[in-house]
């Protein structure tokens, strides 16, 4: 077990390097000069000076090494647009994104697991059919569209909830902030909910059809004890899927954040793309991808830990 964790940790290292390479390369795919895009028609000598100060005149491998070195020491540079430290921008944005991600996970996973369990147990009934159909709808859902639907229904038509923004409350735990989070949370939870429901249903059905369940029944075990067995056996798979979905929520929330003008990493990314604000762009993508890598690492370890088939020494 320990050895597995160690090798998994070691394996993460080259992946992280690869990710940083891609992030670096992405930015240099961009046509044109990052600075002239930001600064427009200004004095050429001034641009040259700026290029030198940002290091954009150095050869690419050297730029990469320099960048990697500063990233490793937690230094993500400064926004070309506002001059604010990228790390600072990202920290507050990340807090907002994580808040939404956690809420959406809680909602999506609990509903998804419950629906999936019911559907799996009542396989073939109308309940199962409703769940399966909703799940298919959920995975096919353009979630940014769902966001608009929610805004139309709850804000425009019924005027119940605010349509955009995060509110002006200073604390994230106030009622006002919470109200602002309800719609984005629901919009974001659709896909994870559907996927978790499908996975849970499939797992439960597969386990229930296995011989050992028959054997347990034959031994006169109560249904609740059998459910316990089913849960234990479904856990690793469902856990893995949940982890992946959580990571996706953090990295893939850009579209929904755009709809709700939610001040998270997605909005920062969106803004940076249109400003061609290279340091912010690099920093955001890197942060989100690293989030994803680390989450995957944690899931893998958790999954090994939860899997009854893997022996633990």
């Amino acid at each position: 077990m320990f050895q597995y964790i160690l090798s998994r940790l070691l394996y993460t290292f080259p992946i992280a390097i690869g990710v940083s390479l891609i992030v670096f390369a992405l930015v240099h795919l961009a046509p044109g000069d990052p600075l002239s895009a930001v600064m427009g028609e200004v004095d050429q000598t001034m641009i040259a000076e700026m290029r030198a100060s940002f290091g954009y005149d150095k050869p690419l491998p050297l730029q990469y090494m320099t960048w990697l070195g500063s990233v490793a020491s937690g230094e993500l540079g400064y926004s070309l647009r506002s001059g604010q430290a990228v790390l600072e921008i990202l920290l507050s944005a990340a807090a907002n994104t994580i808040a939404l991600g956690v809420l959406a996970s809680l909602l999506g996973f609990s509903v998804g697991i419950a629906a999936g369990m019911f559907a799996g147990y009542r396989n073939g009934t109308w309940l199962d059919k409703v769940v399966s159909a909703s799940a298919i709808a959920g995975v096919s859902m353009p979630h940014y569209w769902l966001a608009i639907v929610l805004v139309i229904v709850f804000s425009v038509e019924w005027g119940l909830l605010p349509a955009v923004g995060a509110g002006s409350a200073s604390s994230m735990f106030s009622w006002e902030s919470f109200q602002h989070m309800i719609l984005p949370t629901i919009a974001l939870s659709a896909i994870p909910c559907a996927i978790v429901a499908r996975t849970t249903r499939a797992c439960v059905m597969e386990i229930l059809s296995m011989e050992f369940v028959e054997a347990l029944r034959a031994r006169g075990l109560s249904e609740s004890r059998i459910t316990l067995h089913v849960t234990r056996n479904a856990l690793p798979t469902v856990l893995a899927v949940m982890g992946l979905q959580f990571a996706n929520l953090l990295g893939g929330s850009i579209l929904v954040e755009t709809v709700f003008a939610w001040p998270g990493t997605g909005s920062v990314l969106n803004q940076a793309i249109f400003d061609r604000d290279i340091p912010v762009l690099q920093g955001t993508i890197l942060l989100l991808a690293m989030f994803f890598v680390v989450t995957n690492l944690v899931i893998d370890i958790l999954q090994t830990w939860a899997d009854p088939r893997v022996s633990r020494h």
């Binding site: 090798s7 070691l10 394996y11 080259p14």
Partner: protein, 346 residues
């Protein structure tokens, strides 16, 4: 066997170590000594049985002969021609074919039976029409009515029928030698007998030579002219079937024979039966690889590896055991026979 029969296949010092990869870079951290220094010959027209416990390297030997995996070392001569130098691997594969244990996995599930059989000839340039015709002919030869079977898919056949199709495919290129790797092991006893009879008949009619791999000693006894006993990648003993079954020289062969269910209460438990699992082929025991399970193991068995030497009795009977080698230092070995001495009588 007559010693004068020309060898269709001769194998010298064949070796294959599989790397055990681990770590990030996938470097080999250890080696499975699957086949180690294996030499033997097969005479044209005979059936050489190969027996041994699971994992002793029987299949690997077969695949090495077919060059499905590359040997690390060793020479293979087919009809006297050195494979790789005098004989191209592609030509070898026309003259030598292989039938695998899992009749289902050895047929492409998406191809009709006739197409599977015709694939080989088509590969060698036979037009499709003729190749299918040939496939039909072969189906008939293996006892499957062509009109009824040619368009079937593997899942529409029983295990025995599938294995017959596999024989037909192996025969499609007119090979001289066929390697049968556990070809009947997965079949029910009654079916096994029918298929074995088919094999014997085909061999007789087509003048084939078989390398018959199996862990079933009774089956091997039934079909083989000579038998080769493998243990952990090495040849323990090889010789005429009657000598191996009637007067086994290697303690491992004896243990194998004793551990098979016998109908005859006379021949029972003179020697302790084989117990425990074979050791790990990654780090096989030093000296004689069988010593960890051998009731006769002595100091010499740990330090020196016994090589394959003629045993007393039948000509062509070879054994790798210190007990059978005069002057080896084993307490049960005969004293060294010096020049001029008479052969010691035991």
């Amino acid at each position: 066997m007559t010693a004068a029969a020309p060898h269709i296949l001769s194998v010298q010092r064949l070796q294959k170590y599989f790397p055990v990869r681990s770590g990030l870079l996938g470097r080999a951290s250890a080696w499975v000594q699957a086949v180690d220094d294996v030499s033997f010959e097969i005479a044209a027209g005979e059936t050489l049985g190969v027996v041994g416990e699971s994992g002793c390297g029987k299949s690997t030997t077969g695949r090495l002969l077919m060059r499905l995996i590359e040997p690390d070392a060793g020479q293979i001569r087919f009809e006297g021609k050195l494979v790789g130098r005098d004989l191209k691997v592609s030509d070898l594969r026309r003259s030598m074919q292989m039938v695998f244990q899992d009749s289902y996995a050895s047929l492409n599930p998406r191809l009709a039976v006739a197409d599977s059989i015709a694939f080989g000839p088509q590969t060698h340039g036979m037009p499709r029409e003729r190749a299918i015709g040939r496939a039909r002919e072969l189906l008939g030869m293996v006892g499957l009515e062509p009109s009824q079977f040619e368009r079937r898919y593997p899942h529409e056949l029983s295990g025995g029928q599938r294995q017959r199709v596999n024989f037909a495919r192996a025969l499609a290129l007119d090979p001289k030698l066929i390697i049968l790797d556990e070809a009947v092991s997965a079949l029910d006893k009654s079916v096994e007998a029918q298929v074995l009879n088919l094999l014997v008949e085909l061999k007789k009619n087509l003048g084939l030579t078989y390398l018959f791999i199996s862990h079933d000693l009774n089956v091997v006894q039934y079909v083989s002219d000579r038998v080769l006993v493998m243990y952990l990648g090495k040849v323990a003993e090889v010789g005429p079937v009657d000598a191996i079954y009637g007067a086994p020289q290697h303690p491992y062969t004896r243990a194998l024979l004793d551990s098979r269910p016998s109908m005859d209460p006379e021949i029972r438990v003179e020697h302790p039966p084989l117990t425990g699992d074979p050791p790990n082929p990654i780090n096989p025991p030093s000296g004689c690889r069988f010593r960890t399970r051998c009731p006769h193991a002595e100091a010499v068995c740990q330090t020196q590896e016994p090589d394959l030497r003629p045993a007393h009795g039948a000509p062509g009977h070879l054994v790798a055991c210190h007990m059978r080698r005069a002057g080896s230092g084993h307490s049960q070995a005969a004293p060294l026979v010096r020049f001029g001495d008479r052969e010691p009588s035991r």
